[in-house]
Symmetry: C2
Subunit: 252 residues, 2 copies
Amino acid sequence: MFAEILTIGDELLTGNTVDSNSALIAQKLTESGYWVRRKTTVGDDVEEIKAAVREILAREPEVLVISGGLGPTHDDVTMLAVAEALNRKLVLCEECLEKIKAFYERLHREGYIDDPELNEGRRKMAYLPEGAEPLENTEGAAPGAYIERDGVKIFVLPGMPREMRAMLEKEVLPRLGKRKFIQRKLLAEITDESKLAPLLTETIKRFNVRIHSSPKGFGKYIGIIIFGESEEEIERAKAFMEGRGIRFEEGW
Amino acid sequence: MFAEILTIGDELLTGNTVDSNSALIAQKLTESGYWVRRKTTVGDDVEEIKAAVREILAREPEVLVISGGLGPTHDDVTMLAVAEALNRKLVLCEECLEKIKAFYERLHREGYIDDPELNEGRRKMAYLPEGAEPLENTEGAAPGAYIERDGVKIFVLPGMPREMRAMLEKEVLPRLGKRKFIQRKLLAEITDESKLAPLLTETIKRFNVRIHSSPKGFGKYIGIIIFGESEEEIERAKAFMEGRGIRFEEGW
């Protein structure tokens, strides 16, 4: 039930962009019942991306979602790097090329670009790793890719948030099936997190749950997230803590 | 001149929190002249943190900045995991314990907490890896740690953004010395990024720079970041592109 996320882009490593994509992907994977074990970010560099993909596959997650570097410019090298990491060739996706052609023709008709022709950069986006299933980009030019490899579901998505979000919702989540575990957010009425610590430790020992408590300064509440495989188990863990004098409010 | 960043926290892997800390750290490291090669995020898990720290050290960066998991609760295990990754013991920092004591006494006087006593969770924060130099937390209880290990400067910072920012500015950046390379942001007046690609490729071949161009949809501009070791080299690269008909505006 483990998943990993790989985001790609020099702008993420210079701090010019905050990586909100990986947070959204993590949230959707968690809601789908996957445990996101690690997030990795590398730059637009074939060797760095290859190395990261191979290290992640060696940890054998069930799902790997990759985002970024599918565009037309010289530094969009993700598909090439993923293909090399999997020892596959990049092959032309004819259907993708047709869609890219139509996309730029529409932009030209609508006056957004001067030139509707398929130059090298635009054509590049139609090449996917051999055996990959194209994922439709309803918001932009570059298709994504879905690859199954030794039981790992690999999804390659664009980095533009609008495009990534649409592809995640329409193409990725439907392929991930049912949720396996769930999370419940609670607010604990307590004035000091460190007094809660021993009780949390005892609770995770007694019940089949994981608990995250997030510091919210020293206000009246502490945010708790209980992870478990069933509502019942989470309810039992919550009731146990209530029995020890903790008062909860739902959600935060 | 390579640096890596490791952020720690289950909330980052569930998407409940967007990792703005690593973006700020990346920005400051870049401004200080370091090339951030990779960012990694793992949960509040000793084994995961240990594994990540050891993998990063094996890549021999000059600097490793770690953020998150220094608090008083059961899931704040970063210092323990870092100590184990370095095969060091956790040892009590007396000076840190005094500051933590004073911190909670002040919070108690000011009416923020019920109990000023040093319970187990609070005491835990005074333990640092053997040989570590404590980093002052001017905004919270938990001290950070600075460790030199085989030429790698390792900084361990809190995850609370206010505390992390202050420690980064006051304790980390002064230890990083002079910037080694710089970045220049330009806006290129061009209506399609893919037409710029061949020129960018030629520019990075001819000059000792790296260039990142970031998709901003299909508007009038494309954001360019030129990285180089001197203003002069960046200026030469810019002039070359201008000679090929690209018009730039400064900054974005």
